[in-house]
């Protein structure tokens, strides 16, 4: 697969490294060159400096032939808009946006965008963790 990852923070850099290690072609886009340090020296994919909502930057990252696009910059609105551009202007078959705000994540999912909401995931995990806490003297 040819995958573009927009945003090279903790999630972006880790998922880019993982996908590249799995043998996929990966391009990481970030407007701050310094964030590529998180990828490490042995990263086998490509790095493009620029704003992920800029069509020319996306073209430079090879969006016209991309199979997947992951928007994981630090801004919900940037992620939504660049994923919409990937999906609607460049017809990338799989475009996913990380959206922290659960309501915005659901709203744009209703409009046909794939969204991942870490807030919802954390809530579920935390509630689950509380439910499954071993309580002293509870017998199980």
């Amino acid at each position: 697969m040819y995958v573009i990852v927009a945003g090279c923070g903790r999630v972006g850099s880790s998922m880019a490294r993982r996908l590249a290690a799995e043998g996929h072609d990966v391009v990481v886009v970030d407007d701050d060159r310094r964030s590529f340090a998180l990828l490490g020296d042995d990263f086998r994919g490509h790095r493009v400096v620029g704003a992920a909502i800029d069509w020319d930057v996306l073209r430079k990252a090879g969006i016209e032939g991309a199979d997947a696009f992951a928007a994981v910059t630090d801004g919900d609105n940037t992620n939504i808009i660049c994923a919409l551009i990937a999906q609607r202007a460049f017809e990338v078959p799989c475009a996913v946006a990380r959206v922290y705000d659960p309501r915005r994540a659901r709203a744009f999912a209703r409009m046909g965008l794939r969204t991942v909401c870490p807030t919802n995931d954390a809530e579920d995990a935390m509630v689950d963790a509380i439910h499954t806490c071993p309580m002293p003297g509870a017998g199980s």
């Binding site: 400096v49 620029g50 909502i53 800029d54 069509w55 020319d56 930057v57 430079k60 801004g75 919900d76 609105n77 940037t78 939504i80 808009i81 919409l84 551009i85 609607r88 202007a89 705000d101 309501r103 915005r104 709203a107 744009f108 209703r110 409009m111």
Partner: protein, 239 residues
């Protein structure tokens, strides 16, 4: 009419004040605390503090009953998200948005915005209009109405030079709206003669510019003329 304005900068404030004068109801959403306090001192209940890309803020502002949403924050992504939410989540009939960076114009055209305003593009157009040696200036574009207003020079070698307005063969749906000569505007009466060096103002549907350029500037390549008249959004600044 109830108009919801997101972004209380100079644009948002002035839009609000003029709508108020026209007797419309309006509310401005502003997310910067100090700016909000300034606006509140002036406009009182016409301002709401909050992030206008948050749905609960939009709902508190009454987005569901808004006839028009105006997204004029200084952030293009925010304006685009506000426009999408207004249109698709809340069924707002009309959305107008500000384009801060002309490079993002394509995205505004791609998504749900009915009409856009871009200060940078308009400033470039107006400056070109003031320059002595401009040949083609797009002055106004009404996207929803599919109407453009352009200014174009009549060159010496144009087949229309020395013809009267009535004899000029314009493409279908193109209207010659005015003639500019020596700094004055002339009404395009059918017996008025077009002279080389005149500027003509034409109303036309989008996409007809090339035909117009072939008529008035036959020795120029239409693509080149159009490229010169628009802000270059293709390459510079991309890296």
């Amino acid at each position: 009419m109830f108009v919801l304005i997101v972004g209380g900068g100079k644009v948002g404030l002035n839009v609000g004040i003029s709508l108020g004068r026209l007797g419309h109801e309006y509310l401005i959403i502003e997310q910067r605390r100090t700016r909000y306090q300034l606006l509140h001192a002036q406009l009182e209940d016409h301002v709401l503090f909050g992030d206008g890309t948050e749905m609960w803020v939009l709902e508190k502002a009454g987005v569901e009953r808004a006839d028009l949403v105006v997204a004029v924050t200084g952030d293009d992504e925010d304006n685009l998200v506000i426009a999408e939410l207004a249109k698709h989540e809340y069924g707002v009939a009309k959305v107008v948005a500000r384009v801060n960076n002309p490079r993002n114009q394509r995205t505004f055209d791609l998504l749900s915005v009915d009409s856009t305003l871009c200060a940078a593009t308009m400033t470039v157009s107006m400056i070109q209009h003031e320059l002595p040696s401009h040949q083609f200036v797009p002055l106004l574009s009404l996207k929803h109405e599919r109407l453009e207003l352009v200014e174009i020079e009549v060159s010496e070698d144009s087949p229309s030079a020395h013809l009267t307005v009535g004899d000029v063969r314009l493409p279908p749906d193109v209207l010659l709206a005015a003639l500019l000569r020596g700094g004055a505007a002339l009404l395009p009466r059918s017996d008025e003669m077009l002279l080389p060096g005149d500027q003509v103002l034409c109303l036309l549907p989008p996409g007809r510019e090339k035909e117009l350029i072939r008529i008035f500037l036959p020795s120029r390549r239409p693509e080149e003329v159009q490229a010169q008249a628009t802000i270059d959004v293709t390459d510079e600044g991309a890296t």
